[in-house]
Amino acid sequence: MADTAAPPPVKANYVRSGSLTALIFLPPALTLFTVFVILPIGEAGWYGFYNWNGLAALENFVGLQNYQQLLANKTFHQAFINNLLIIAVSLAVQLPLALAMAVLLADRLFGSVAFRMLFFLPYILADVAAGLIWRFMFDGDYGPISQIWQALGGAPLYILADRDWAYGAVLTVIVWKYFGFHMMLYIAGLQSIDRNLYEAAAIDGASPWQRFRFITLPGLSPMIKLSVFFSLLGSLQFFDMIVSLTGGGPLNSSHTMVSFLYYFGIGRMRVGFGSAVGVILFILCATVAFGYKRLLMRDQDD
């Protein structure tokens, strides 16, 4: 009790000696981040101009040839379209589904918590495992979906071996695995909407649909933007499930840009070619991130 007499503020002191402490506290993070994140991204830009197998001296400068090959590559076109399809399905199927489930589960009604947990569960599973589970579900010989189809009188369904259907299977699994995560975002958003608005609207005679359209949707718009942003970035880095579900097949029809990078860049040790894919991915990620920041988050502080 005796030594609590208020001392004068010491702001000046702590501003002065901050730099010294920062010299000890920052370097580990700075070093790791620079060596393993920033340098490789820079090097991708550099390697992209070379034809290199990763072992010989880096001297076969080919200018933009890797990029030209890439832009003329049919499989890469398909991979790019497949990435766009993920975004399309995220917006057209996953988002409405997640939103609907969030609205049904936002209040503590019977079973809400259990259903939330159930819907979130696939999200914590590794993509590799989810892909294998569904590789079984879609299997023509032993999979349940093909069995149902046969019970209805059809021939065995080899969905993953069919050029037209394989990627549809991938998209189905994406919705299955990720809608619960987006639902949780929306539930968090719904809980921040002022309940008095609903009461007032009800008194004014607004219908449930009007309440949803004019209170829920506008109140959720920051979360919807965030969820769309995650869908965009998630699409650009989508990889693991392609390996375990389709392996990019049949006939290279189900690649994404990252699985293209893996199979055609790393798999064949074409470092320059693969780096060029990385650079294109980097540019797309940067565009999405900065575009998102500029257009949608102007109102938020850093």
């Binding site: 503020p9 702590y14 730099s19 402490t21 920062a22 000890i24 506290f25 920052l26 580990p28 993070a29 790791l32 981040f33 994140v37 920033i38 490789p40 090097e43 991708a44 589904l97 609205v103 049904l104 936002a106 209040d107 503590r108 009604l109 079973g111 259903f115 569960l121 999200y123 914590i124 590794a126 993509d127 590799v128 495992a129 294998l132 589970i133 079984f136 579900m137 032993y142 349940p144 299955w176 995560f181 949780m184 975002l185 968090a188 909407i193 309940r195 609903y198 309440r211 970035l233 880095q237 693991d240 390996v243 990078l261 893996y262 860049g265 790393i266 990385g278 980097f282 990620c285 940067a286």
Partner: protein, 301 residues
């Protein structure tokens, strides 16, 4: 006297909470209640859970029964499918490798990112803002964009086919989000705390270790959960870095097993079930932490 005011204050707060959640009928926010709502939820719930159940139960069947009896319970429970995996060294080895990799990744991430976050939150130094933005750059770039040069880097450092070759890049890639989340949390601490500590002759390092860290357990837990889950489920990086079977984490081990038993689906299903079991158990036991950790991380990041 203080006791009473506190008590009154508490009960008033309680009434307020009651008002918020219970007095507004749920029908105002949810357009559908009662049976229709429940039926829709059950339908979607079935779509979510059937593949998981088919996998777990399928692991108890004979291969032929997967064909003849896709959805029913096994006629004879084939415990040896699961037993043969549980008694194999390979199963425990891949889980052990993953546990080791993920734990070290989490420990290092916290050890490296927390001091940096503290520096950004409570110190003033030259170039602070620029350096912070430099780290924030990392938020949007996944492993994949730089995976080839990263592979070359790991190889040139002599870390190829070692667990450090996975751990160090993982720690590096987790810095951006971890530093951002922790800096924001550290900033919430009242600055009077720091002033008082400095007056009492406590240096920055001691202030950080004995005051900031103990007060910031929730955010440390959030960062730990996110880092652990990302590392536990990581596939691309180990795929590129690790060559030796004995060093595989479970994600690689699972693909390896599948590649070996290709059509012996009953064994593959049992193997999938057993390898995702730790994640499911963790989720059931610590669901609050995990859900709030993963979503809070997403929202604040």
């Amino acid at each position: 006297m203080t006791e009473v005011t506190l008590h009154q204050h508490r009960s008033r707060k309680y009434v307020l909470t009651l008002h918020k959640t219970d007095i507004v009928p749920a029908s105002l926010t949810a357009p559908l209640i009662g049976l229709p709502r429940f039926l829709i939820l059950c339908f979607v719930g079935a779509l979510v859970i059937v593949p998981l159940l088919a996998t777990a139960v399928g692991g108890f069947k004979e291969l032929g029964e997967l064909r003849t009896n896709p959805f029913g319970l096994p006629k004879v429970w084939q415990w040896e499918n699961y037993w043969s995996i549980l008694t194999s060294a390979r199963y425990w080895r891949i889980l052990g490798n993953s546990l080791l990799i993920s734990s070290v990744t989490v420990a290092l991430t916290l050890a490296v990112a927390a001091p940096a976050a503290f520096a950004f939150a409570h110190l003033r130094f030259f170039g602070q803002r620029m350096l912070f933005n430099y780290f924030i750059l990392g938020l949007t770039f996944p492993f994949a964009t730089a995976i080839l040069p990263l592979f070359i880097k790991v190889r040139d450092l002599g870390l190829l086919d070692t667990h450090w070759g996975i751990i160090l890049p993982q720690v590096a890639f987790s810095q951006a989000l971890s530093i951002l989340l922790m800096r924001n949390a550290f900033r919430q601490l009242p600055s009077e705390l720091l002033d008082a500590a400095l007056v009492d002759g406590c240096g920055y390092a001691r202030f950080f270790l004995s005051i900031v860290l103990p007060l910031s357990r929730p955010i440390l837990a959030t960062v730990a959960v996110i880092t652990f889950v990302v590392s536990w489920n990581n596939f691309l990086l180990p795929l590129v870095v690790i060559n030796t079977n004995a060093k595989y984490p479970w994600t690689l081990g699972l693909m390896d097993y599948q590649g070996e038993f290709i059509v012996a689906w009953q064994l593959i299903l049992a193997f999938i079930t057993l390898t995702i079991l730790p994640a499911i158990l963790m989720f059931v036991l610590a669901q609050r932490y995990i859900v709030s950790g993963l979503t809070a991380g997403a929202v604040k990041g």
